[in-house]
């Protein structure tokens, strides 16, 4: 299939996000031999700078520079892309909160198939694209096929495709005129930064991180005791913040903090990609979980299948005694 493939390139502070080159790699793997076009939207000099940067990797870059595009509002980007893209286009987006906002509706408006959160390619036969996704928070994977004869919108998980070292001298096409007259019934107001908490877990070398597997709120005492004995800080995964058991500032993950500890204890944390997305620097990772199939054991250095409520007090006592 001779697909015309487009990559939506996210950028910040005048530089392309890592996702742009990952999506370029994904495009080449999913649609061998395609010549992807990067789409850069924004306002002001950043657009030209990013377009120039990406022209060194993509054979073609379309730039859309308009005041209305200063913030990437999916409700404006969707009609813009519908106007700009040719029939049967394949669009790759990062599987981020922007991709989730833009992608599903874009597929409907383009009349294209939608495949979210692609983690691997599994071949292209005619107009049937085969990919790998994950379900049940990463506990199982699935082979998925999509009929892409009418185009496709795919969101791609961060880190799933390793960026190459592409060299191109791509053509930059100014498509800004297409942004004229766009309207949306959702208007961007502002971004409110995350509240700073009493603790900055991003600066800690040793984190004792706790997840839903701790069971009851009162069991957190065991975690605090262990952290205290170790001289470590307590962090957590999302469900504990949702339950209001621990403050947002302690949350590790894509919707929380990105941490780079030397040692990370994952207690009752299953290891969703959203959680692992906030854990960088390849720490010594100890996972304790009652579920032997928890995805965290795939990435941990050391694992224990066990009961936190029984093991933690013994461990704490042993550390206290030195």
């Amino acid at each position: 299939m001779d697909a015309k493939v487009f990559v939506y390139a996210v950028h910040k502070d005048g530089q392309a996000d890592d996702s742009a080159l990952e999506l370029l790699a994904a495009a080449g793997t999913l649609f061998p031999g395609c010549a992807p076009t990067a789409l850069v939207t924004g306002a002001g000099s950043a657009v030209a700078a990013v377009a120039k940067e990406l022209a060194a990797a993509f054979p073609e870059v379309w730039s859309f520079d308009a005041a209305s595009l200063a913030y990437p509002n999916a409700e404006l980007l969707r009609p813009l892309l519908v106007k700009a893209l040719p029939a049967g286009a394949v669009v790759l987006l990062p599987h981020t909160t922007l991709g989730m906002d833009l992608g599903p509706g874009l597929s409907v408006k383009l009349g294209a198939a939608y495949v979210p959160d692609v983690v691997a390619a599994d071949g292209l036969e005619g107009a049937t694209l085969k990919v790998v996704r994950q379900e049940y928070a990463g506990q199982v994977s699935a082979h998925v096929t999509a009929d892409v004869s009418g185009g496709a919108v795919l969101t791609v998980r961060g880190g799933a495709f390793r960026p190459g070292t592409p060299a191109a001298s791509g053509r930059i096409v100014d498509q800004s005129a297409l942004a004229e007259g766009l309207t949306a019934r959702r208007k961007f107001v502002e971004v409110i930064a995350a509240e700073a908490g009493d603790i900055d877990i991003t600066r800690e070398d040793v984190l004792v991180s706790v997840g839903r597997g701790i069971g009851e709120q009162e069991n957190l005492e065991l975690v605090h005791d262990l952290a205290k004995a170790m001289g470590a800080a307590v962090s957590c995964s999302r469900p504990l913040v949702d339950a209001k058991w621990l403050e947002k500032a302690r949350q590790v993950g894509t919707s929380g903090q990105t941490v780079k500890p030397k040692v990370y204890l994952a207690l009752g944390i299953s290891g969703s990609f959203q959680h692992l997305g906030g854990l960088k620097g390849n720490p010594f990772l100890v996972a304790i979980n009652k579920n032997p199939k928890a995805p965290i054991f795939q990435v941990a250095t050391v694992g224990i299948v066990g009961d936190l409520l029984e093991l933690l007090p013994v461990l704490t006592e042993k550390i206290r005694k030195g």
Partner: protein
């Protein structure tokens, strides 16, 4: 405000180990406990809170099979006024677009100002809300963690974006919002609450009742299909420790000492 909340009955992945049947046709479903999708539960709570402040009605809709009714009834027991079930063998095998087109037909049977979904469900696709909005030609916002009614047809909403920041927007109704966990604290539903709604009749709509062409939905209309489930070959994975709790603790202390995990 008339609010429709779309909910899904799913295996509770916090309570279950999910494994794959031989051959990969499905996950192993014996012994699974099912519940309402966690995100959807927050969506129902949010709808009820909006109606408590602004007046109106909350309807809970679910696409499923005979088992789905218990989930709708549980959500009604939280305080939703009405339930609606969409059940038809023709719906089976629908892809995200199929589910969204079935829900679109249900939305158009009513007069809703606002449709809420959970941000995602068991398949992690996070797709139905956005597709539904596009099919209705309504504005959409995903991963919403704040909703304030501003009067007129305007809502002030927050989206939870990367790094824990909140993107604030104004959106016009009617619209579709997909709700993120943590937006509220869903109320507890006791046995007594469920008994109270036990005899409330929940209408059931089929493909014909919704005016849908069976060829356009279900497996027949799906462009995206799951071929099989599988468990990826394990990588090197973790070095698994075994022993009594006493032995495990001793091994961990030695490892933590060696790696600088104890101060």
């Amino acid at each position: 405000m008339e609010i429709l909340v779309c909910v899904k009955r799913v295996p509770d992945s916090a309570e279950n180990e999910i494994s794959v049947e031989a051959g990969g046709a499905d996950i192993r479903r014996d012994d699974l406990t099912y519940s309402v999708n966690e995100w959807d539960n927050y969506a129902v709570e949010e709808a009820i809170q909006i109606v408590e402040r602004e007046g109106g009605n909350v309807t809970v809709v679910s696409l499923g099979d005979g088992e789905t009714e218990e989930v709708v009834r549980r959500e009604m027991a939280m305080g939703a006024n009405q339930g609606l079930l969409l059940v038809d063998p023709a719906f089976e095998g629908s892809d995200g677009a199929g589910v969204a087109s079935i829900l679109k037909a249900a939305v158009q049977k009513g007069a809703y100002d606002l449709v809420l979904t959970g941000a995602l469900a068991d398949d992690g696709a996070a797709q139905v809300g956005g597709m539904l909005a596009a099919m209705l030609d309504w504005p959409y916002a995903s991963v919403v963690n704040r909703v304030e009614v501003k009067g007129g047809n305007t809502l002030l909403i927050g989206r939870e974006i990367e790094g824990g920041a909140q993107e604030v927007s104004e959106i016009q109704t009617p619209c579709v919002l997909s709700i993120q966990t943590g937006i509220n604290e869903p109320r507890y539903v006791g046995i007594r609450g469920i008994r109270k709604v036990a005899s409330v009749e929940i209408p059931v709509l089929t493909a014909a009742g919704l005016g849908l062409d069976p060829a356009a939905i279900g497996a027949a209309g799906a462009r995206v299909k799951r071929v099989d489930y599988f468990v990826p070959p394990a990588g090197a994975g973790a070095d698994m420790l075994t022993g009594s709790n006493e032995e495990l603790a001793s091994q961990l202390v030695e490892l933590l000492k060696a790696k600088g995990g104890l101060k």
